[in-house]
Structures are given as structure tokens and as C-alpha cells.
């Protein structure tokens, strides 16, 4: 296999469930060694795309090549070289942390002594060595997720798929997890992840596509997307319920988005815009100047927020 060919390549990839189109003719390519993200709100088609890549969901139409192979034909071969971290952990609660790794390694036909040494290394890596012999059920959400990641690495995959890796975790657990994923990236493991958190996409992804309503609406690195679709900074104003602005904000910044009880003003100079707001005598509950994020990219592209 040539090193230049993409690890994953999709052309017109489509998934339909009856009349419902979950993924609508998307094109993308994932290169070896990069961390690639699907960013979008719930229901955008991210999980359906991941399931097709992981060879458990038949492609409705279009082409998909994973590791140079067709998932519909060579599913088991692809799976032997891939690690999957599903949205729900799917661990066996009756088993211990260590046994979960042991059992899972056996599905790959890996000899027991090899699984044993790998399991010990992986437990160190995900910082679960102390919980090695405890059952899975009482573990915290972050620990379970780390165990699921260790499990996905038992076959030393070239490609790791992570579906919403930190959804439902507290901020500290998320940071521990991001740190581990960054270490994996340094070790050369290609990662594909879905998320509806813009900070996660910014932290982890070299490149990402923004998905909305089954389609890809933008593609690039986080920085490129922010530069292309937003201004450098955002002035965020909060207003009490029912305040009439009546055009008072006209001409401020480059772009004004009015949301339920806040207004976002995209601008190249946040401080100057904030000053102008003050000059006009606009009474906001709070005025915040911040850098633009992928959240603002999503808002620009779709007119909606990522997380409701």
C-alpha cells in the first residue's frame, strides 16, 4: 500500500434508513497520522458515518475505502487493524477491568500471553493499574471511558475511531482523556473522532469537517475555519428578557447574530467594538470580549448553536 493514499476515503457516501437520510452524499479523506474530526450537533449524521467506517453499517450508496479496503467486503480484515471507542462504553460490567481487556483481545485471536503484557501496558497508559482487579460497574464515567479506549488499543490499531469520546464526562475527566489522546497522536495513531463540543474539536483535531443535517458544510483545520467563516473576535452581550434593541446595534462589528437572550458581534477588534457599544449607551447585563471559536463558525454556517 502506498504511504500517500488516504487511510479513509469517502465519495458520495450516503446512509439511508427507510425514507430518512442520515448521511447525504459526503466526501472526505483522512490521512495517515492525523486526527480528523466530525463536528456537528446531535443528529447531524456523525455516528452513522462512524458506523459505516467501522464496517458495522452497510453503505447505502457512494464509495468508502478504509485502509484501502471495502468495509462491505473486508470488514473483519479492517476491524483487525482498527480500534473502536463507541459512544456507549459497551463494557462487560460483570468482569474486572483487566478481564475486559483479556476477553476483548481474544476476539482478535491474539495469544493470551501477548494480551496479558499489552493489557498491563495499556492499564498503565490509561492510568487504571490501581483498579486492575475491580469490577467495571462502580468505576466513574471517566474511568470507564479510559478503559474503553484501552480496550480499543488492545490490537495495536493503526486507526482509532472515537464516537463522542468525552460526552457526559466532567471537565477534569475530559482533560485527562484529551491528554491521553494527544499522547496516542504523538505515537502515530491516526484518530477519527466525532464531537459536538467545539473546544474538543479545537483541542484534538488537525482537520475537521462540520456536519449539519446529514451534509458536510465546511472543511479545514480549526484555525482555517475560524479565519474563513468568522472575524477574529466576538463581543458577547447578554440582555435581560424582553429588551428591544431596535437597530441600536446596526453597524457594529462585521456581523451581528441575535440569539435568545444574547447578541454576538463578530469583529476584528473586540475592545473597540465593546467601547462602541458603551458609547451608544446600550445597557447590557454583561459584555464579554473573546476569541472566535468553532462554535461561532457553526453559528455562521447554520444560523444555529451546536449545543442547545
Amino acid at each position: 500500500m502506498g504511504s500517500s493514499s488516504p487511510l479513509i476515503e469517502a465519495r458520495g457516501l450516503t446512509k439511508r434508513f427507510g425514507d430518512f437520510t442520515a448521511v447525504d452524499a459526503i466526501d472526505f479523506a483522512v490521512e495517515r497520522g492525523e486526527t480528523f474530526g466530525f463536528l456537528g450537533p446531535n443528529g447531524a449524521g456523525k455516528t452513522s458515518t462512524m458506523r459505516m467506517i467501522s464496517a458495522v453499517s452497510p453503505v447505502t450508496s457512494g464509495t468508502l475505502r478504509v485502509l484501502g479496503l471495502d468495509p462491505m467486503v473486508d470488514g473483519p480484515t479492517i476491524k483487525a487493524r482498527m480500534g473502536v471507542v463507541p459512544q456507549q462504553d459497551t463494557l462487560d460490567f460483570e468482569l474486572t477491568v483487566y478481564e475486559n481487556l483479556l476477553v476483548y483481545g481474544r476476539y482478535f485471536g491474539i495469544p493470551k500471553d501477548v494480551i496479558k503484557s499489552r493489557a498491563e501496558e495499556l492499564l498503565d497508559f490509561v492510568q487504571l493499574q490501581e483498579r486492575r482487579d475491580s469490577r467495571v460497574e462502580p468505576l466513574s464515567g471517566g474511568m470507564k471511558r479510559r478503559l474503553t479506549i484501552a480496550r480499543g488499543l488492545i490490537n495495536e490499531p493503526e486507526l482509532l475511531l472515537l464516537d463522542e469520546p468525552t460526552t457526559g464526562l466532567d471537565p477534569q475527566a475530559r482533560h485527562v482523556l484529551w491528554d491521553r489522546l494527544y499522547r496516542l497522536k504523538q505515537q502515530g495513531v491516526t484518530q477519527v473522532l466525532t464531537t459536538h463540543y467545539m473546544d474538543e474539536a479545537e483541542q484534538l483535531c488537525d482537520r475537521l469537517v462540520v456536519m449539519d443535517q446529514a451534509k458536510i458544510v465546511a472543511e479545514g483545520s480549526p484555525r482555517e475555519l475560524i479565519e474563513r467563516y468568522t472575524q477574529r473576535e466576538v463581543v458577547e452581550l447578554r440582555f435581560p428578557e424582553g429588551v428591544e434593541l431596535n437597530g441600536k446595534l446596526d453597524g457594529l462589528g462585521e456581523r451581528v447574530e441575535v440569539l435568545a437572550n444574547r447578541v454576538l458581534i463578530g469583529t476584528d477588534n473586540g475592545d473597540a467594538t465593546a467601547h462602541a457599544v458603551h458609547e451608544r449607551g446600550i445597557q447590557a447585563e454583561s459584555v464579554l470580549v473573546r476569541r472566535s471559536t468553532l462554535e461561532d463558525v457553526f453559528l455562521t454556517l447554520t444560523g444555529r448553536t451546536l449545543v442547545d
Partner: protein, 267 residues
Amino acid sequence: MATVAVTSSPLDRALSVTEWHARSYKRTWRATITTAFLNPVFFLLSVGVLLGQLIDDDQAALGGLSYVEFVAPGLLAATAMQMGANDAMWPVMAGIKWLRTYHAVLATPVRVAELVLGTMGWAAIRVFSAAVIFTAVAAIGGAITSPLAVLAPFAALLCGLAFNAPIAAFSASLEGGDDGWFPALNRFVLIPMFLFAGTFFPVSQLPDWLEPVAWATPLWHGVELCRMLTTGNVDALLALVHVGYLSLFVVVGAIVAIRRHRRALLK
């Protein structure tokens, strides 16, 4: 870059699934020990020995057997039915819907057929070991009169799988994850079979119109097969019919189960 092929065989992969169930079972065996081992032995004691003493005046109706000799193979087959059936209900639903552990298996090179057959393999081990223990207890208690009884656990195994496979197919096709069907299946199918399909009395006792219904049940075939072996009254042709009928349930059940699992898991 080196191409990594899938090195394991289908049998290896099916056995890796069986191994998972066995490891998982280590933690829960205490909860199931009553249904698997104690209940059938209690039944044998209460119905077979104690109630049987009141019935034994009329051994002709039981083909010359004492009641405990008559009922022991019935309980053997019925226990196999219960275990085979129950292993294919909630555990299958849990693997597909609740804990989604089957999805974890399918993220690996294990194929759906290997998952289903490996899981069935675990049910087979459970049914067979319970049958061996029950047969030994019955033999020690004097409820067995033929050395052919060493084959009875295999007959029980066939009977257990004749329920396990079709019910696994049924469980995998419950799209909505509605486990309300399982108590209904127990109440309206399995328990009536347990009570009326030859476990406790010859089906010739049933009203004439009901007797053919009993013949159609897989349990009756399992009971009759076990009874032939524990009593030594073997009719080779009838035995073949029983084996064939039960095997049909196993094979067709397994094929449909694989299809239904595929539909439920590979969407």
C-alpha cells in the same frame, strides 16, 4: 507497510465468544445455581419420590415404571428447556439493546454468525453440565434403571438447544427492546409445556384432541428421548424421529437467529 491478515479461524472466534460468556458467568453463577441445579433436584424429591409414593399403585399406566423413574427424565428434559430458553431471552436482549456488549464484539473481527454460535456454545455447556449433574443425582437416588442413561445428558442438550436457538431468533427480532414478551413466553408457552407435555404424566392422559398438540412440542420429544435412555426402553425408529425433530428446531432456529442478529446489529 505489512498487511495484517485476520489470523484466527471462525472456530477460534466463536470460542472466544464462548470464553467471554464463561468468564462473565463466574461472577453470577450463584444466582443461577438454584434454577440450574437445586430446583430440578427439589422437584425430583417432592414430586418424584414423595408424591410418587401415592401414585405407584398403578405402574401399568407408566409402562411398568415407578413414578420417580418416570418423572426423572421428564424433569431432566424440562430443566434443559428452561435453561436453554432463558439463556436466549434477557441475556440476548442485554447484548443487543441494554448493555450493547454484542456491539463491542462486532467491532472486532468476530462475525455475527460466530457471535451467535459462540453464545449458543456457552448455553450448550451450561445445559450439558446441569444435565450431567442431574442425571448423576437421579442415578444415585435410584431413579435410573439403564446404563444408556450416560447418553441422557446429550439428549437433554439437544432439547435445550431446540429452545435456545429459536428463542434467540425471537429475542433478536424484538426491535423495540420489549422484554414484556419474555414473561409471556414463560407463562403461556414454556410452563404449559412443562406441565402438560409428558414431564409428569404420559400424554395419553390428555383429552384426545390435545394429545397431538403435545406431540408437536419439542419438549415432548426431548422428554421421550431422555426417558428412553434412562429406562432403557429404546425404540430406535421413534428415537430417530425425536432426534430429527429436535435437530430441526436447532438448525432452523440457529439460521434464523443469525439472520435476526445481523438485522438487529448491522444497521
